[in-house]
Symmetry: C2
Subunit: 213 residues, 2 copies
């Protein structure tokens, strides 16, 4: 909000900024996150120093880029969390929303989560570190929702935060694995995860002859 008012002037720099972000996005989605600042600048039809004026450094650019998608994804999840039905329905809807998001735009997902690893390039290695912000924000958000809606005793807030981060992590790791191998349908994955959350781990009996989990 430190933008000087000035009406139309105000948006001039802002608009340019989003133009640059869109160009950057195009390049990142095409070349992967190891895209050079030069390449991004070229795509935007300008040269490096301007990028630096707008975003400070590469990290700043990437953060700005990540923020857009993070915000969008969080909004989607929030909506799913408010969907109709009983609790289990809502949980499944949220899982579906997340998995569907990463499934339909894996490029974006890879950028947000582990920005290295080019598709056809096996030796992928490089830059990044945006996953933490996204994961954290999702965890905190979910924690808040849980704290709002559930009564978990005296330290509800604390428990809710733990659960928020835990559930998000579950969703994240399972989703990441699933996206890589696709060994089952999304429906099934959602059902199994919801089962896990619904305490089926505790209820299931030991396998005959095993020491028991």
């Amino acid at each position: 909000m430190e933008t000087g008012q000035r009406g139309d002037q105000r948006t001039a720099a802002q608009r340019r900024r989003t133009e640059l972000l869109e160009a950057a996005e195009r390049v990142v989605l095409r070349d992967g996150p190891e895209a050079s600042m030069n390449a991004i600048a070229a795509e935007a039809g300008i040269t490096k120093p301007i990028l630096y004026r707008h975003f400070g450094d590469k990290s700043g650019l990437y953060r700005a880029l990540a923020k857009r998608h993070t915000d969008a994804l969080l909004a989607t999840l929030r909506a799913a969390l408010d969907s109709p039905g009983d609790r289990r329905d809502r949980v499944e809807a949220t899982l579906h929303a997340y998995l569907s998001a990463i499934e339909t735009r894996p490029q974006v997902y890879r950028f947000l989560m582990h920005p290295a690893e080019a598709p056809s390039d096996e030796k992928g290695f490089d830059v990044g570190r945006h996953s933490v912000p996204l994961l954290r924000r999702m965890g905190e958000d979910l924690g808040e929702v849980i704290a709002e809606r559930l009564d978990l005793g005296p330290d509800t807030r604390q428990v809710a935060r733990v659960w928020g981060h835990g559930i998000v992590g579950m969703m994240y790791a399972a989703g990441d694995w699933w996206l890589g191998e696709r060994p089952l349908s999304r429906d099934l994955l959602v059902r199994h995860l919801a089962d896990l959350l619904w305490g089926r781990l505790a209820e299931t009996g030991d396998r005959a002859g095993s020491r028991g989990l």
Copy 2:
């Protein structure tokens, strides 16, 4: 033949390799994962090309470095999974083992998981991409254990893998958040996570006046 001398000759390269790895570890733990190959070589008392002869490229070195710790951590977790007591005890023991590991050696943990983010340097940015291997391996391992010990119906193996990755992700994200903020004791964290796994989410009633989770 000369395989005598306890295979000194045979292990000569191997020993050198581990020496280099130890030097690399020292540097990485001191300077963070953005340590340069030059710095690592200097610490080992040699120069770059030798590192490249041994590890191919930087990614190779880091993989080798990561593998040692990953193997160690996995062994620890396996042991915890075999600890005495009932299932809940074992689950809690495993969570404790993991959290204790990341708590006592956060530097190593940061390197394995998100190799950027220098301690005092907020704008941290750089290299890495080892988290996936560790997370995946933990998930697969846990999935195997679950499949061995639980009977989850016709497609036990699939469900077990989903759960393995899910639980590991839960542990990971909650642990990562906890390590950063430390808002509660490890004991409590473990209990809350175990509660979550034990289906308390499903059992808990809605908060009065809320739409319900």
